[in-house]
């Protein structure tokens, strides 16, 4: 990742308040990342619903065998 040239966000006019905020901001950012992945992984963990496994099976073997 070579993001040296682009500042991480637009409010980079750092002053003391800005520095205090960036500590706060880091904390919020790690929380955001955590929640985003938790939300996403929650769905991923459901695996492949039968609906999609069946669909693929049906399409893979066109009606030679007839419908189940």
């Amino acid at each position: 990742m070579n993001s040296k040239k682009t500042p991480p966000n637009s409010d980079m006019k750092a002053d003391t308040a800005g520095q205090q905020r960036s500590g706060l901001n880091r904390e919020i950012q790690s929380k955001i990342g955590q929640q985003l992945r938790a939300m996403y992984d929650d769905v991923v963990q459901e695996g492949v619903p039968d609906r999609f496994a069946d669909l693929l099976k049906r399409l893979d073997k066109p009606s030679e065998e007839g419908p189940k």
Partner: protein, 182 residues
């Protein structure tokens, strides 16, 4: 149609992540599953254009994303269901997070412009590189980076304002406290 078993396995393996992406985009489980189904149909119909050895998952994400975009453009004229449905439509929530906290997070995510939301999810949750995300969204790598950054700072603002006690007193409160104590 006879599908190469290796390709079939790759498609199946991508389904859980495709669903997570579709739900994050549309905020609605039923609509998301329809999107995934349509993506699979489209992928199978065009499987000859998939280059073996390249990233199947990225290819499927691209299809799903394009389907969602064209559907979104159509629907936007009918109903604009910005924040409400997204937060309400998901039944489950991860065990490790508080319910309230998680609902607030989803509501905040739903307030992001779609381009920022998809960029953030692809990079921050699906685990794609900036380059892969740029391919999927058909834009420059720099565009993806700036979308992800804007998404993050917008979310931070939304969550910090909603939830100041979670992250310490805000600046105004701090100023008042300091004024009184010193």
């Amino acid at each position: 149609m006879k599908l190469d078993p290796a390709l079939r396995d790759q498609i199946l393996a991508a389904v859980p992540s495709l669903r997570a992406f579709a739900i994050s985009l549309s905020g609605n489980v039923d609509r998301a599953d329809d999107l995934v189904q349509e993506t699979m149909l489209r992928a199978l119909a065009n499987i000859h254009s998939f280059q073996p050895g390249t990233n199947m998952s990225a290819w499927l994400f691209t299809i799903l994303r394009n389907l969602f975009r064209s559907e979104y453009r159509k629907r936007r004229r009918e109903v604009e269901d910005a924040d409400g449905s997204f937060a309400e439509s998901l039944k489950s929530h991860p065990e490790q997070l508080g319910r309230v906290e998680f609902q607030e997070f989803r509501a905040a995510l739903a307030q992001l412009p779609p381009e920022q939301r998809e960029a953030l999810i692809l990079v921050g949750a699906s685990g794609f590189s900036y380059e892969e995300a740029a391919d999927i969204c058909d834009c420059a790598v720099g565009t993806i980076k700036s979308r992800v950054n804007r998404a993050r700072s917008r979310l931070a603002k939304l969550l910090a304002i909603d939830n100041p006690e979670d992250f310490g007193p805000d600046r105004a409160t701090r100023a008042v406290l300091m004024g009184h104590d010193n």
